[in-house]
Amino acid sequence: MSMKDKIAIIGAGCTLFSENFGQDYSDLMVESSGEALEEAHLTGKDIQAAWLGTAFPDAGVWKGRSGMDLAQSLGIFDIPITRVSNYCATGGDAFRNACYCLLAGEADVVMALGVEKLRDRAPQESLVKMMVENGHPIMQKGFTAAGTFAVTATRHMHEYGTRAEHLGQISVKNHKHAVHNPKAQYRTEVTLEQVMRSPMVAWPLTVLMSCPTTDGSACTIMCRAEDAKKYNEDYVLLKGHGFSVSTGWDLPFYDERHSFTSYRATEVASRKAYKDAGVTNPRKDLDMCEVHDCFASVELLTYEDLGLCKRGEGGKLVDEGATAAGGEIPVNLSGGLLSCGHPVGATGLRMLYEITRQMQGKAGKRQVANARLGLAHNIGGPGAVSSVTILGARD
């Protein structure tokens, strides 16, 4: 069943993605939901079901283990609220489940809210510590999150002649885009030399090819498309969605059939979303993409997995400048995770916020003229889980 034109986003909100030392977990939620509720001309009491995306309560502040943390923070009680956790695709998954609820007719107005408070701890104490100290005592021990994605860069370089400078160029591009995004953590341009010479995290990924550790929250409020105008004339339509878990947390590193040059989850999820939306040539049909550049190598592989270029030609696409602002298919006009940071559960919804503003023509200096169709992509775990959502402007 296609999801095309059945769901409308009637409100979206997003905090500043940064080191929000002055805000706690709840403050972030209040801010993002406030912007979304205001846009939809609703109050919290109008929300009939909600999904809370927080991926790593134990890496942050022990908040977000259950839907009750949204209820208490927003003062929304007596409705079903589910906490969603699906690694870095958490935000996309919260959105998906909220849409399913609308399609099932169980509620008329629903909220998907993602939030992660990571910077009450030093970066070394949050996400890095997670893989160093927690998890399986032996399997994957030695990896940090960067390493799990670096091995794909290594293999891609080996098979296709991709160079570390291609990854550097992606970082340069995204940092340049972020200059125009007031919600981004870093809004300063960087040079290729700065990227390449910044400290090595996990070869070939340097610090500037890696997303920072960040606090943030983003929120969308949805209803069925036929009801949208009741709440907000300037709504945006869901055109397609795909979601796939295509391998496991450990499995890719112990599975001879895993290629390390592609994330199958992205291929599967995007083909479903394309089918929904009637996209046949993504490079032409889409006006922009927000893709999951937690590390620069992931953006490069995702070009190929989304079908923006042929297999092995991600580096060529970078060289052509096709994915830069003003290019054929701009990618990460927000600055991406590399500039916005990656409060894990919030990222997917931050991307939907970005595409929503693009579809509304309200993306300021980042705006793509006459934008009609935009894509948001997450990948989670070691590329195991992917969410692809296509939003479109209303007619």
């Binding site: 005592p137 021990k141 990896f143 390493g147 070869w203 112990y254 001879e256 059939r257």
Partner: protein, 467 residues
């Protein structure tokens, strides 16, 4: 007749030079010593030696395994059982831990020879390994070396058979380490040399020569081990041995190798021997074991391998201290979660290195799965031994994972004959890592999570031994 069938030697990759140590302590220095890597201990050295010794042999008839060490990673817990598991010798095996004395190796060897002679064991494997700690800056620091040696005792194809053996026990305090002490203590050097080592060793050697009915001039090689790797000459002379017959313990190149020393020296002696020759093996430690061996025909095959030739790389003194955990505040250790219960459940893969081959689609799975990820077949796997050789598929080098030897190379290895395994790469310099390079698996310690030693298989580059 029971005899020594083979000997496997594992020498670690790193060497610390006396010159390097001398620079650190502002004094002259000479020679080198072998240094176990930060992820090696006596258990892993013993496993590496055991696997070299067993080689391609059918291991089904090893009925006993003895672990020997004065630096066992556990004061209470058998390490022999760990070595037996990592060497994949099965559970129906007698295991024993021989600790406490530098003589424990030869004591275990004599027990093994007795057991095989008595017919209660078909093969016995004696695995001796040590990584003894010395106080930083002390003379012992360069005197000690780290190594593992494994001696396979059996009946067929012997390299050497005992003609006679004598054990001399002497209660004397010359070298010791209490439960509370990390580093080895030695008393008065002259007393230790003259009153302890020389007296006991002379007594035992004279007795064993008399028992075998052999004169000093009939002894082609004499392996005499002392606590400091010196003093063997002082014993050889009064015994009437030809000075050229005394085997150089290579202390200046490797250090005194603890309980592994007599077997490392014996292997060197055997590689230079001919059938029919007599070898005296004397090992001091709270007394002395002395054995006269006759070299047998199996020595010809034994000589084809050069066991002490191994690739080496130099280690700096500060890293040496870090490896030995002498730098309390330097970090490099992860406080990893570990569960004794989980470790037990996953021993088939993490210790024995077994995989599961799907009976339906033939996929070799290296995770402890119950359902084949490729064909969905449930619970129908054949337990298989995974190859310990492979090729590097991809890798990264982690600069933020705590380790005494950054960066950590994380390696995805495609094993010969099937199966993929993710592991840390060890004994490696970062720039030499390349996709497609051949690697071999090696048993190492990963971390101390849970308050116990967490062991696993790592990979390392395949290196040629120097000619």
């Amino acid at each position: 007749m029971a005899g020594i069938v083979d000997i496997g030697i594992h020498l670690p990759w790193k060497r610390l030079s006396g010159k390097e140590t001398g620079i650190a302590w502002d004094r002259p220095g000479r020679g080198e010593r072998a240094v176990a890597s930060y992820d090696e201990d006596s258990a892993t050295l013993a496993v590496s030696a055991a696997l070299k010794c067993l080689g391609a042999r059918n291991v089904k008839d090893v009925d006993a395994l003895h672990f020997v060490s004065v630096s066992s990673p556990y004061s209470e817990k058998s390490v022999a059982s760990l070595v037996a598991a990592a060497a994949d010798l099965g559970n129906l095996i007698r295991t024993g831990d021989h600790c406490g004395s530098l003589r424990a190796g030869t004591s275990a060897l004599l027990s093994a020879l007795d057991a095989v002679k008595a017919g209660t064991s078909r093969h016995c494997l004696v695995c001796a390994a040590d990584c003894r700690l010395a106080p930083p800056g002390s003379m012992l620091e360069m005197a000690f070396g780290d190594a593992g040696a494994a001696v396979l005792v059996g009946t067929d194809g012997a390299v050497a058979e005992p003609l006679a053996a004598v054990s001399h026990s002497q209660e004397i305090l010359d070298t010791w380490r209490t439960d509370e002490q990390r580093t080895v203590r030695t008393g008065d050097a002259r007393f230790n040399r003259v009153e302890a080592f020389t007296k006991c060793t002379l007594d035992a050697c004279k007795a064993v020569m008399a028992r075998a009915g052999i004169e000093a001039n009939q002894i082609a090689k004499a392996v005499i081990t002392s606590p400091d790797g010196k003093g063997h000459g002082a014993v050889a002379k009064p015994l009437g041995l030809d000075p050229k017959a005394v085997v150089d313990p290579r202390t200046d190149a490797l250090g005194m190798l603890g309980t592994a020393q007599p077997f490392v020296s014996l292997a060197a002696a055997l590689e230079d021997s001919n059938a029919g020759e007599k070898i005296l093996l004397a090992c001091y430690g709270d007394g002395c074991d002395a054995i006269i061996f006759e070299v047998k025909a199996g020595v010809e095959q034994f000589k084809a391998q050069k066991r002490l030739a191994s690739p080496t790389a130099q280690l700096g003194y500060v890293k040496f201290l870090a490896y030995k955990r002498m730098l309390a505040e330097c970090g490099g250790e992860s406080n990893a979660f570990a569960s004794q219960i989980q470790a037990s459940r996953e021993a088939p893969i993490s210790l024995r290195f077994h995989g599961k081959k799907c009976q339906s689609c033939g996929t070799i799975n290296t995770l402890s799965l119950r359902v084949c990820p490729h064909c969905g077949t449930r619970e129908r796997f054949d337990d298989i031994k995974l190859s310990k050789k492979g090729v590097l598929n991809t890798y990264t080098q982690e600069h933020y994972f705590p380790t005494p030897e950054p960066p950590v190379t994380m390696a995805v290895v495609d094993l010969e004959g099937g199966g993929r395994y993710l592991s840390q790469m060890t004994d490696v310099e970062a720039p030499e890592v390349k996709v497609g390079m051949p690697v071999e698996m090696t048993f190492r310690k990963l971390h101390e999570g849970g308050g116990f030693h967490n062991y696993c298989w790592k990979c390392r580059p395949v290196r040629e031994a120097p000619k």
